[in-house]
């Protein structure tokens, strides 16, 4: 039993739904109790889909238990096939149906459903989660339907991994399809998103596979490599460097591929532009799914000039590559799906910005740390009306804008340093390009509201030899430092003091530390 308040991933059958909803002509018959239909609204509301997900739920109730839940499943299967006329169906159980052991897969295989392929799913709800569910479902569909076949005359690839309810999948697919077209490569099939079962059957015609989302497509990509002899790309083209590496990978696989134009790429110049110098060394904390975090870390360090001060992922399946990646940044990776643990880690690291999920956005809000969203779990805001990929060259441009937006910008930051005691133009007013009303300084308003980013109060709680106390004057001085660097200043000063056995922090200690850590 594990206590959970918020979860990063849904149950595995929601992953299967993401595959079914991404595809066309595939129907999912899900043995599930009434109530599990809530999952439909993830697609119709968060993603604003104009169609119901292609899912039939048996919606059994207590009175059905022990009598005819199996019959209910058979009827639901027959009705779904008669009504929706799918090319193939996938069948499975949600967490509750798994317990009553009706074996929907076995039942469906023995039924007369007009000869369409029936693909049974075994998704252990009490062990695995949403990404596993999507990856496994896609793999089962591919394994069942794809055949070795003659390759196309022209160089082609399949795009593997995009699903319904994916973080920016819609636009990433468009961007990478365009990039490939620029290289003279056609996309044979993009799957699951947009593919029919008939399309899956002709996956084998492509010369190679582009694996955009390892979380949801890697098992299928490995199967294709082994059975259909298709190599697949290992670099996820997110960021400038990774996109260039991806292009090199494709050109090694397909010698006829051309070099694409970089004409629309703006990130390198924007990052080099002098107004970006304020980004230098900003400490960022990264959390999300492993693929997006690993890619974001490289962008953060090499393309934005940030310092990565913490990173991790919620999907345990990718713990190994995540740990290896973190090592490159001199960090140890945080692998957890407990958002309270993530919150503690962020508090400890005191970053100047968080690149995370919607959960970290809430954590950032609580801690007063700006946050940009880089990964699922998705929110209605992650489906913008405008074109906004995070992959390819346009994706790099989008990332630059997205990551800069939450920060207090360039000269404004300097002005805050200069006039930090100004009664109107103080740091609590927030960045001037954001909405919201400026708040009066807490000191002016009288009294101390419980401000989450306040550093007053009991500064060091530990007792023992390494107790460090802030003298009142030093604490006042610390408060004059703008909030976006205050956490770092406080931590650095305390570390500096502790290392030197200084028990009391004075204004001098603060500035000694500042000089020590100056870069």
């Amino acid at each position: 039993m594990k206590l959970s308040v918020w979860t990063y991933e849904g149950p595995p059958h929601v992953g299967a739904m993401r595959v079914a909803t991404g595809m066309r002509g595939l129907h999912y018959v899900l043995h599930a109790p009434q109530g599990d239909t809530y999952a439909d609204l993830l697609f119709t509301m968060i993603e604003r889909r104009d169609r119901r997900p292609p899912v039939t739920y048996t919606t059994f109730q207590a009175r059905d238990l022990g009598s005819d839940t199996a019959d209910l499943f058979r009827t639901a299967c027959e009705d779904a096939v008669a009504r929706f006329r799918p090319e193939a169906i996938i069948v499975g159980a949600s967490c509750t149906a798994e317990l009553i052991q009706d074996d929907p897969g076995g039942m469906a295989e023995t039924m007369d459903l007009g000869g369409i392929p029936v693909i049974p799913l075994e998704l252990p709800s009490y062990q695995r989660k949403e990404n596993f569910g999507a990856d496994e479902t896609f793999y089962q569909v591919v394994k069942r339907l794809a055949q070795p076949m003659e390759r196309t005359a022209r160089p082609t690839v399949n795009i593997l991994g995009p699903t319904g309810l994916g973080f920016r999948h819609r636009d990433d697919v468009a961007e990478i399809t365009g990039l490939l077209a620029d290289m003279g490569i056609e996309v044979n099939v993009c799957a699951p998103m947009g593919a029919t079962p008939a399309d899956i059957a002709r996956l084998g015609a492509a010369h190679a596979n582009v694996l955009l989302y390892p979380e949801t497509g890697e098992t299928a990509a490995r199967w294709c490599e082994k059975t259909l002899g298709q190599p697949f790309t290992k670099t996820v083209p997110m960021g400038v460097g990774a996109t260039r590496d991806f292009i090199a990978e494709i050109r090694a696989m397909l010698p006829d591929a051309l070099a694409p134009s970089e004409a629309g790429l703006r990130l390198p110049w924007y990052s080099a532009s002098v107004d970006s110098t304020y980004l230098t060394g900003k400490r960022v904390f990264l959390f999300g799914d492993a693929t997006h975090v690993m890619a974001a870390a490289r962008i953060a360090r090499d393309e934005m000039g940030f310092e990565v001060c913490g990173m991790g992922c919620y999907n345990r399946e990718f713990a190994r590559p995540m740990r290896a990646a973190a090592k490159e940044y001199g960090l140890s990776a945080l692998i957890t799906d407990d958002y309270l643990e993530v919150e503690r880690a962020i508090e400890d690291a005191a970053p100047e910005m968080i690149l995370g999920t919607q959960m970290e956005r809430h954590i950032g809000k609580r801690l007063g740390i700006p946050c940009a969203v880089i990964s699922a779990p998705v929110h209605v805001q992650d489906f913008p009306a405008r074109y906004s990929p995070v992959m390819g060259f346009e994706g790099a441009n989008v990332i630059f804008d997205t990551w800069v937006h939450p920060l207090v910008m360039g000269l404004e930051e300097h002005l805050l340093h200069m006039f930090r005691e100004d009664f109107e133009f103080h740091d609590a007013a927030g960045p001037s390009h954001h909405g919201g009303k400026a708040v009066a300084r807490a000191e002016d308003a009288g009294g101390q509201p419980p401000d989450p980013r306040s550093i007053s109060g009991p500064v060091m709680e530990e007792t023992g030899a390494d107790v460090v106390t802030w003298l009142a004057e030093a604490e006042r001085e610390l408060k004059k430092i703008p909030f976006f660097v205050r956490g770092k200043a406080r931590r650095n000063t305390e570390t500096f003091a502790a290392e030197r056995g200084v028990r009391e922090i004075s204004v001098d200690t603060l500035y000694e530390a500042k000089a020590h850590y100056a870069r």
Partner: protein, 424 residues
């Protein structure tokens, strides 16, 4: 007050449907119940699906640490490797240690906990003994195999009834969770009529438990409280039958039934209700121009459908095509059914694909349905009102009557307002 229809829907045949149901399970009620009971915590004993439902259903990630959580069952709990009861004790001990403000803890059963027959009643008794008197531990099931959406609140309130103190004098109990502001308005109206001693279930805080006994009369402000009413009746309480307090007519009829029961004279009643009634009528009129003559189709959702159809047809001039409810408690919604003019199909339960076929054939001007259906129907050219908003918005009594009509008028007004086609 308009006359009751010559023939209402009280005796109309009910289309009973059985098939795929596009509805929430009873766990969803936690989303408003945990705000209503300010010192209560709801611990769902369930699966990852339950946790995912709670965070998805209402997009409620606004509270840094809400007063609900899910104890997610894992493989070891199911295989009997870990004693689930011991595990639960540990989880509860940790939770209560971290949240000393909690005075009531609800252990909420889910589909998986019901199927594996995890005895939460026993757990609640044991934990109550451990954590009394500071914390009262109760249990109910919000599982989808037993409860549909608002039936979760019914199950929760019914679970509280046996623990209520005994009332020895004549007392008035109002059952059903209302937003605090609406509850205060209601209490204000009753007080103005001279009814001072009114208790509410649920109470806002654990220390204010209402009493119940053979001299208690109970009025319901929600139509889905069948089990709660049965539990109160077992304690000796008597139900005041009335239409539900939606709109001018429903509110007036409801208040009058309560007033008569409590010995309030007609003059006092008229004096107290006159001004707010007039306000309600004016506010409804602002929206009813949009609604008048339009047809409405209800998919089953919260059991509010019948009282709301009564409001829309009798006070806003709409024509009901179909009124679907997940379950019909005749003892509660009977008065509303009698007032609903004959004509609409009254359906109970759901076979969603068949019902969608009926809606497509009828092409109603307004379709009231769940979030899973709304956008797909909009894309087919129908205008929809999401039903969940009717549960999450203050809509009861006079001062909200205009807002209630406005909720239905807004999608229609929006459709009229938008000019998205190419200029001719």
């Amino acid at each position: 007050m308009p006359k009751p229809p010559a023939t209402g829907c009280g005796a109309a045949p009910v289309l009973k449907e059985r098939g795929q149901r596009e509805v929430f399970c009873g766990l969803t009620g936690i989303i408003w119940l945990h705000r209503k009971m300010q010192d209560a915590f709801f611990l769902v004993v369930g699966s990852r699906t339950c946790a995912h439902l709670l965070q998805s259903a209402a997009g409620v990630m606004i509270f840094a640490e809400p007063r609900f959580a899910t104890a997610i069952l894992e493989e070891t709990d199911l295989a009997g490797l870990a004693d689930a009861q011991d595990e639960l004790d540990n989880q509860v001990a940790q939770l209560l240690a971290r949240r000393p403000d909690i005075r009531q803890l609800f252990l909420v059963g889910s589909c998986p906990s019901e199927v594996i027959k995890l005895d939460l009643g026993r757990a609640a008794e044991r934990l109550s003994a451990v954590h009394a008197p500071h914390v009262r531990v109760l249990n109910y099931s919000g599982s989808g195999i037993e409860t549909t959406f608002t039936e979760g609140e019914d199950a929760c309130l019914a679970a509280m009834v046996p623990a209520l103190p005994e009332a020895n004098a004549k007392s008035l109990l109002i059952a059903g969770a209302l937003p605090d502001v609406v509850e205060d308005q209601m209490l204000g109206l009753l007080r103005a009529m001279g009814i001072e001693d009114v208790a509410c279930l649920p109470a806002r805080r654990a220390d204010d438990l209402p009493a119940v006994g053979p001299d208690t009369v109970v009025a319901l402000v929600q139509p889905f409280l069948g089990e709660t009413l049965a539990a109160l009746t077992r304690r000796g309480a008597r139900h005041i039958e009335a239409p539900l307090p939606f709109g001018d007519e429903g509110t007036t009829a409801w208040l009058w039934a309560v007033a008569r029961e409590m010995g309030v004279d007609a003059n006092t009643f008229a004096r107290v209700t006159e001004a707010p009634r007039a306000r309600a009528r004016r506010a409804i009129a602002a929206a009813s121009g949009t609604l008048n003559g339009k047809s409405v189709f209800f998919f089953p959702d919260s059991q509010l459908e019948i009282p709301l159809a009564r409001f829309l047809t009798r006070e806003c001039g709409m024509d009901a095509v179909e009124v679907g409810a997940p379950f019909i408690h005749r003892a509660i919604v009977g008065p509303d059914l009698d007032l609903l003019p004959e004509g609409p199909t009254i359906s109970e339960g759901q076979d969603v694909d068949k019902q969608l076929d009926r809606a497509r054939a009828a092409r109603p001007d307004l379709t009231v349905c769940g979030l899973g259906l709304a956008n797909p129907l909009e894309s087919e050219g129908l205008t929809t009102k999401w039903a969940i908003e009717l549960v999450f918005t203050p809509v009861h009594f006079y001062e909200q009557a205009g807002d209630l009509a406005g909720l239905f008028a807004r999608p229609l007004r929006r459709k009229e307002k938008l000019r998205l086609e190419a200029a001719e």
